[in-house]
Structure formats: C-alpha cells, structure tokens
Symmetry: C2
Subunit: 317 residues, 2 copies
C-alpha cells in the first residue's frame, strides 16, 4: 500500500494548495435513516487513522430540558448553531482543527467540546449537513438517505426504545411533532445530494419491511460515478441493474437497483469491478455491508463501496 | 450620542470591507495582575450592548483533575488549545461569531461552550492572548499588566483564598510550580504589548504595597497615543508626568507616571483633555477607576481612560 499512498500524496501536492485538504463526505437524513450504520462501515473500511467522522447534531443550540419550552424540535435550523456548523465544516475542509460541541443523545445534555483534527477523509453525518450552500460547498460528495417512512419509523422505534430508553408511545409522539419540520427542512436536502440512497422492500415482488431490503441509489451526474454501464453485464441483471430515469424534478439520473436477493458471488464480481476502476493494489475492504457483527447485507455493502469509491477517487484527484 | 454613532458607523463603511469589523483589545498578564478589574471598568464605560469581553483561559485543554497527572500548569501553551484560540480570535476580528469553550475557575471543569458574537468592541483578557503572531495580528491594541511580583502575589492570595476557596499555602505552592512557566511563556508577552501597565508603590517616596498604588504606563510608539506632551502642563506635574526613556531592550518609549496621591481635580482635567481629543459630545464615562463599588482609584481610572481612548480612536478609523 505505501506506493499507492505515496501516489495519492503526490497527486495531492500538485501545487494547487490542496495538499492537506481532506476529502469530505456528507451523509444527510432524518432521524433513524441509517446514517450511523453506513458511516461505521466506511470508517472500518478505511481505518480510524485515515478517517474522521463527526455528527452535526452536536451543533444543537439547546439541551433537551431547554427545548421543552420552545416551539421547535431539533430538526429546526433555529434549534442548531448552523453558522458555527458552516464555520467548522469550512475549517475541516481546509485541513484545520475544530473544537466541536458535544451533544449527548443519551442524557440530552450539551457537554465539554472536543478537539477534532481532520484526517485524510472526513464523514459528516446528521440532520442538516446540506442545509446551506456554504455547508454543501465544503463537501466532495453528498448523500441523502431516503428510506420509505414506514421503514424509517420502524428503525427509529427499534433504536430509540432499545438504545435511548424511550417508550414506543414517546417515539411516535415525537415523530408526529417533528413531521412538519422534517418536511420543511430535512427532506429538501434530498435534492441537494449527489447520491440518494433508498433501502426498501420491492413491493412488486411482494416483499415487506421485515424482508431483507433492496436498495435503490440515485446517482446524479453532479459527480463522476464509476462507469456502471460497462461494469454491469447481463449476468448481473438478476442481482442489480442500472436504469436511466427522470427524477421528481424532471432531471436525468441513473437509478441503480441492488436486489436484496442478490447472490454474494454476483455482487462480489461487481464490487471487484468498481474497485478495480480505482487502480488500487489492495483488496476490496471486507468491513463493508455489516449491519451487526454477524450479518452482512449486500445492498448495504454495495452502497458503501460506491461511497468509498468517491472518497478514494476524490483523494486521487 | 446618535450622531456620533452615525459618524462612527459611516467611517467604518468606507468600502474597505471592515464595516463590521470590531475593535479588538488584548489584556495579557499573569494570574492575579488585575485583568478582570481593568476589563470590568471598560465594559461598564462602553456598555454591554457595545462591548464583548472574553477570557482566553477558557481555552484550557485539560480540566483540573486531568492536569494533576501532567507535567505542566495552565500557563503552558501545551495546556491550552492555542490553535483554536487563534482561530476564534480571527473570527471575532472579522466580525464572525464563535462557539467559545468554557472553563469554570470555581470547579476547575470544562463545560458547555457558549455562543459569542462580537459587538463594536471586543476585549480579550487572559494568560496567553499575545503568545503567537497570529493572535497578536487580531488586535488593534495590546496591553500587558506587569505589577511587581510581591504585589501580584498579594492580589492573587487575596482573590484565590477569598473567591476560589484555596488556602494561602495552596496558592503559594501553586505560584512556585508556575514560576518557570511564567518566566518562559507569560512574561515574554510584555515585549509584544503596545502598552505595559505597572501598578506599584513608589519606593523613593517610602510607599509600600498596602498604600494606594501609583501606575506607570509604558506607551510604545507602535500605536498612536493621545498627545500627552501638549496635554500635561506644569500644573499637572505633581499628579503625573511623562518621561522619555529607553525600555529594557533599548528602544524609545514614553513612560507615563500617575501618582497615587494625584488629586481628583488635577486628574479630572487631564482625563477631560485626553477625552476631548476624541471629539465626542458625551462626557468622560464615570465607570472608570472603580476597584469596588465604593472605591475609586485615580491611576486605574487614567489607565482605563487611555485604553478607552484607543478603542474609540480605532473605531473612528
């Protein structure tokens, strides 16, 4: 790997002042859309010495107690230090350290800030990383997680009752309260993402939310994706296919469907072909696709691989 | 006052991009040198709606507990986020908000950061605001407080035993531990200040530390001071005088002596003359010189007035 790292380092030192500029990836999405799961796989794949991940929900302006008397939820920009978030993203994008605020999701309290230095790669996940033009400008690639609402509710219920100590009723009440702000502030970020990821059952096949989920990735031509038209052959068709469609706004976009019943052998071939486009000597990282220590999910693995592709490609310049 | 404020605002909008640039004053000095007392009078004089004051000791990297296992005291740059301090000072100097860390001197703990927006004027006081070239570049005027060590020890003992719950023995132990770092990091800032302030008894007059203190202000020609040669007449000579001297480094500097026995009538005349140079309609602020609610100190008042002069003069451009 050292030769490749050297190649990468040299490419970055092309005299354009970006030698120490980290590659920045945004993962935006509502509460319970899987931001943490996707991020964890990328961090494992690259290694903690090469990648920094931060959550911009740490930029909450009020703690849980203070929010009780306020007319908005944490989804509202007014409930967050958006200007400070922008400021810090700019520092990170320029390779500079920040003193990042810390919000404790368990206690709902704001605590002692922490010093964060950007490494080669920085992942920024949270509710509002794509809220402003300035914040968007800090990223090399942007992702929006867009599962159907019923899937998201199920994921959020499961996490908030198991890990954050809420009752199901509390979570449902909270979701209801947040809905207008989800619509006004979270979902508009979908249109600003280079990649929109949707994990969902394929209804035409009679799949339900409890089946392993397929994924659809909208790949907008705003960044340079791997050339899937040459990678995907008829042999792969049952596992995944690429379709040229018009997005909600009428603009052209590639839709990559990855079926939940994709066979490991087939996806492995596709993964290898995407990975090969990067020209690296190392094998495809095996940390991808992990939902928990014992479960590997092919649509998740391929989604993460495509994000990893963009990180490394951007680094190569 | 509105016309003057308007004048001041217009002067700032001269198209040089500094319209919203606040005027920044640094007050550096060791622990117990009177930074808080001097700052408080300036804040009172200008009003909290026009001036923001921050303490850079909030940039401590470790809390009191963590420091117990470390080989340095809070005076050491390694014990502070100097890079973040520089970053934040630059933001403030450009009129941008910061999310400032908070160190609680009572508990010794680091807590939830606070949002600080610069107003027209910003005072930055603390142990190390003049530690780096970048931090110095953020200021319009810089001050170093330089009382004799025996005065400082007396002030620190008084405050730390009365307000911070330490025993005299603990304070003396602490001072001993800090001495090498005072010498290495704090005192070199004296050479980087536009104004060096020294409150001290005049030994030739047989004064001691318990007498009201006289002040000596070294006014370096690095910024434009009020024209004291034309202000100070023979009538003022008993209360104060200006003397051209060479500083420790051989460079020329004006030394303004303000005697503790200066009569209010005389200092009032000098204060008015300095104030008049600013061309303002308003009277000399009467918040200056307060050591406590009932005690007014003339050397302190004149020191603060000269700092105030620099703040307002810089604002007038």
């Amino acid at each position: 790997m050292p030769d490749k790292q050297m190649n990468m380092a040299r490419a970055g030192q092309a005299g354009d002042g970006t030698a120490n500029r980290p590659i920045m990836l945004a993962i935006a999405g509502d509460s319970g859309t899987g931001k943490t799961t996707i991020t964890a796989g990328l961090v494992d794949a690259l290694g903690r010495d090469r990648i920094t991940s931060i959550g911009v929900d740490d930029y909450h302006r009020y703690d849980r107690e203070e929010r009780k008397g306020l007319p908005f939820t944490p989804l509202h920009p007014e409930c967050n230090y958006i200007d400070i978030m922008e400021q810090h993203l700019q520092h990170l994008a320029l390779g500079q350290p920040i003193l990042k605020p810390v919000y404790d999701h368990d206690t709902g309290q704001l605590g002692r800030p922490e010093y964060v230095e950007p490494r080669e790669f920085v992942i920024v996940e949270g509710l509002l990383p794509l809220h402003t033009k300035t914040s968007i400008a800090c990223f090399d690639a942007t992702v929006y997680l867009n599962p159907p609402e019923e899937i998201r509710i199920q994921w959020k219920l499961s996490r908030d009752t198991k890990k954050r100590g809420y009752t199901e009723e509390q979570v449902r009440e909270d979701l209801k309260k947040r809905e207008p702000e989800s619509e006004e502030f979270i979902r508009p970020q979908r249109a600003r993402a280079d990649i929109v990821v949707r994990f969902a059952p394929i209804e035409e096949r009679g799949e339900s939310a409890t089946d392993p989920l397929s994924a659809t990735l909208l790949l907008r031509p705003t960044i340079s994706h791997p050339d899937l038209t040459s990678i995907l052959s008829d042999d792969h068709r049952q596992a995944m296919h690429l379709k040229l469609i018009r997005d909600d706004d009428g603009k052209p976009v590639d839709a990559l469907h990855i079926h939940s019943y994709a066979e490991r052998e087939v996806t492995k071939e596709v993964e290898q072909a995407i990975w090969d486009e990067l020209g690296l000597d190392e094998p495809v990282p095996d940390a991808l696709g992990r939902i928990d220590p014992d479960t590997r999910d092919e649509p998740l693995a391929l989604t993460q691989l495509i994000l990893l592709y963009h990180l490394i490609q951007a680094k190569q310049g």
